[in-house]
């Protein structure tokens, strides 16, 4: 589904990704771990199309098509979803109106009619129940005054509504207490199918207790330097990253 080849990118002249390769197939869950500043969030933003990063080499393919020249909204229309580490606040626009707009803009891009109001409401109800979101929450301004946990839950709610092919969860676990973590992880698992894929970026093993990855990658200094199965995350939790850095350097 997603194929990243030799991706190199810089921001303001500073090299951040230095030849990253990653392949994610439909039905898979990949976890990306790594020390601070390794380039994890940068990778997520670049796949989603953030303009301030300059891709200097390499390709990003989604279902065989190079998406690296597409605008962020076009990538979204093609099924890329990024759950933000720091979701932005938009006063005056309710959660419901925002998600309606997002869905209908995607439909418009695909040449479809707007989703009928009844269908929209039904979907909103289903997905908010899945994530145990209170109705009142939906009529609040997007992310305005939300707690860290509410923001993250709202991200996954939007993911559930948009049903992306590829979801990248950038530190979705940070700011979540253990109950919220379980609800969010449970939501992600229910949305998982053989046709979609999830990339989980995290610092901690605890999220991976709930969302069990098929592959765990270690990103260090702009490259993936080690790949393993779920047990690698446990090992990292115990031993930290220094041993990997030493491996790379030697």
């Amino acid at each position: 589904m997603l194929k990243i080849n030799n991706l190199q990118a810089e921001v303001e002249g500073k090299s951040i990704l230095k030849g990253l390769n990653l392949e994610v197939k439909a039905g898979e869950v990949h976890a990306i771990m790594g020390p601070n500043g390794a380039g994890k969030s940068t990778m997520a933003s670049i796949v989603a199309g953030k303009e301030e990063y300059e891709v200097t080499d390499g390709t990003i393919e989604l279902d065989g098509e190079d998406i690296s020249e597409l605008a962020p909204e076009e990538r979204a229309h093609n099924g890329v979803f990024l759950s933000f580490q720091y979701p932005v606040e938009i006063p005056g626009v309710t959660v419901t109106n925002f998600i309606k707009t997002a869905i209908n803009e995607s439909r418009k891009a695909q040449g479809l009619e707007e989703m009928p109001a009844k269908e929209m409401l039904k979907k909103i109800r289903e997905k908010s129940e899945l994530l145990e979101i209170d109705r009142k929450f939906l009529s609040r301004s997007l992310n305005e005054g939300f707690s860290g946990g509410e923001k993250k839950r709202n991200e996954i709610f939007q993911m559930a509504m948009l049903e992306p092919k590829l979801a990248i969860l950038d530190e979705t676990d940070s700011g979540l207490d253990i109950d919220a973590l379980r609800i969010v992880a449970n939501g992600v698992n229910k949305l998982k199918s053989k046709d979609n894929a999830v990339i989980v970026i995290t610092h901690y093993q605890r999220l991976l207790d709930y969302i069990v990855p098929d592959f765990v990658h270690v990103l260090h200094d702009g490259k993936i330097v080690k790949t393993g199965d779920a047990s690698l995350a446990l090992e990292l939790e115990k031993k930290g990253y220094d041993w990997i850095k030493e491996e790379v350097n030697s």
């Binding site: 605008a71 962020p72 933000f84 932005v88 626009v93 707007e114």
Partner: protein, 437 residues
């Protein structure tokens, strides 16, 4: 002939045409002399440093369009708030249009300045209030000299006006360039309540210059909500001079929505003549092209325990320019004043300009005065967030601008006005978003 000369030489004809023996003849004559002395404002004046009227004063204005112009309601319906019942005071090229208006004398007077100036039953109100708070400055004096037509609103004690009043001034553009000078007087007695919507609209792209003066008096416990919708054509220039005097416990709010027009200058002045007064000044400005919008506000805190709240949001695109000059004076006696001023601006293009100048003159020592002024750009991270959810850049920008201006919009008390303004914002930003913004 220069416009000033042309105006001065037409004064005799003007007074002959109406009624030279009018009660306000002396006021007019004095004002004319004042204007003769001061002339039009130039950039040499501190208050006009960033706003030049030169480009609009060179046109050959028709000063008293004599023709009675008519327009069909269907052609101008869109300029009215038409989804609710309202009183309407409508002028076409400065002349009253009875056909488009809906006035009343039933328990209150919602009618015309020209008839109030003529009839003896209004004499006392005119004597007590007319030109009592309007400044003797250049353009207000010019308006006073030719004061004859406009809205006259008198709301007696404890009357709550059951529906909003719309004051609409159309210019037909039948002349190359039209000068109109509406003069409004609004007196709201104790415990009375009124909501007013004011709009100036030219119907062609011919030049129009409106020099408007509005005096508003809010007695004890009175409430006035005033909405100024400024969405005129590209060659329409507006100088709005509004003067408001408030008595104890009164609350007056003025919302100014400046989206259209060529040059727009808003002189909004509040004078607090009692205690526990609340004055609210809010505005949203969205400009493009070569538009220029200048907000000059003044809140004069004279007595103790009063409040003022200012919140102006500006979004400037292309080569447009803006000015915010917010002056707050707190007199020595005005202890426990709570004066709040917020002015936030977004420059969408690097060619746009804003000159922001908060001015606080505080002579009392036990007061709470805060002011904040920001000039920035749209939040790129927020824009990326919306694009990531599939919302195209243009719509995303519109949503962000709407979110930015929302603090002003949410205090609009008439839902139909609020939804109209949101539609105007969406139009202005060229988007059609799937819900009422």
């Amino acid at each position: 002939m220069e416009l000033k000369e042309k105006i001065l030489s037409s004064y005799v004809a003007f007074e002959n045409d109406i009624n030279i023996n009018s009660d306000i003849h002396d006021i007019r004559t004095e004002a004319l002399q004042n204007f003769e002395k001061l002339g039009f404002p130039t950039k040499k004046l501190e208050a006009w440093k960033y706003t030049s009227l030169n480009s609009v004063l060179k046109d050959d204005y028709s000063i008293f369009p004599n023709k009675e112009n008519t327009i069909q309601f269907a052609d101008v319906k869109k300029y009215f708030i038409h989804d609710i019942d309202t009183y309407k005071i409508v002028f076409i090229d400065g002349k009253y249009s009875s056909f488009l208006s809906d006035t009343t004398h039933d328990g209150k007077d919602i009618c015309l300045m020209s008839s109030a100036l003529k009839k003896s039953k209004y004499k006392a109100v005119i004597e007590n209030y007319f030109n009592k708070i309007a400044k003797q400055d250049n353009l207000t004096s010019l308006n006073t000299a030719f004061a004859n037509e406009g809205a006259y609103i008198y709301i007696p004690k404890s009357v709550e006006v059951e529906k909003p009043i719309q004051i609409i001034n159309f210019t037909t553009g039948k002349e190359e360039a039209t000068l109109v000078q509406p003069r409004n007087l609004i007196v709201v007695e104790e415990n009375a309540h009124v909501q007013i919507i004011e709009r100036h609209q030219s119907l062609t792209n011919n030049t129009a210059l409106s020099n408007v003066v509005t005096e508003i008096f809010a007695a004890r416990n009175a409430t006035v909500d005033y909405y100024k919708v400024q969405n005129d054509n590209v060659n329409a220039t507006l100088v709005d001079n509004t003067y408001i005097e408030q008595q104890t416990n009164s609350e007056v709010s003025v919302h100014t929505f400046s989206f259209g027009g060529n040059i727009t200058r808003n002189n909004l002045n509040f004078y607090q003549k009692g205690e526990r007064i609340n004055s609210i000044l809010k505005g949203i400005t969205i400009t493009e092209g070569k538009q220029h919008v200048d907000h000059h506000t003044l809140v004069h805190h004279i007595e103790p325990n009063c409040e003022s709240h200012q919140d102006y949001k500006g979004i400037y695109d292309e080569r447009s320019t803006g000015v915010f000059n917010g002056k707050v004076i707190v007199e020595k006696e005005a202890q426990k004043t709570n004066a709040y001023q917020q002015n936030n601006n977004v420059l969408v293009s690097d060619k746009a300009t804003i000159n922001a100048k908060p001015q606080l003159e505080i002579f009392a020592d036990d007061v709470k005065c805060s002011h904040g002024c920001t000039i920035g750009q749209l939040d790129e991270e927020a824009l990326f967030y919306m694009q990531q959810r599939g919302i195209p850049k243009k719509e995303g920008r519109a949503l962000l601008m709407y979110a930015f201006a929302n603090t002003v919009l949410e205090s609009v008390k008439i839902p139909e006005v609020k939804s109209r303004i949101t539609k105007l914002i969406a139009n202005k930003l060229g988007v059609n978003i799937g819900f009422d913004l």
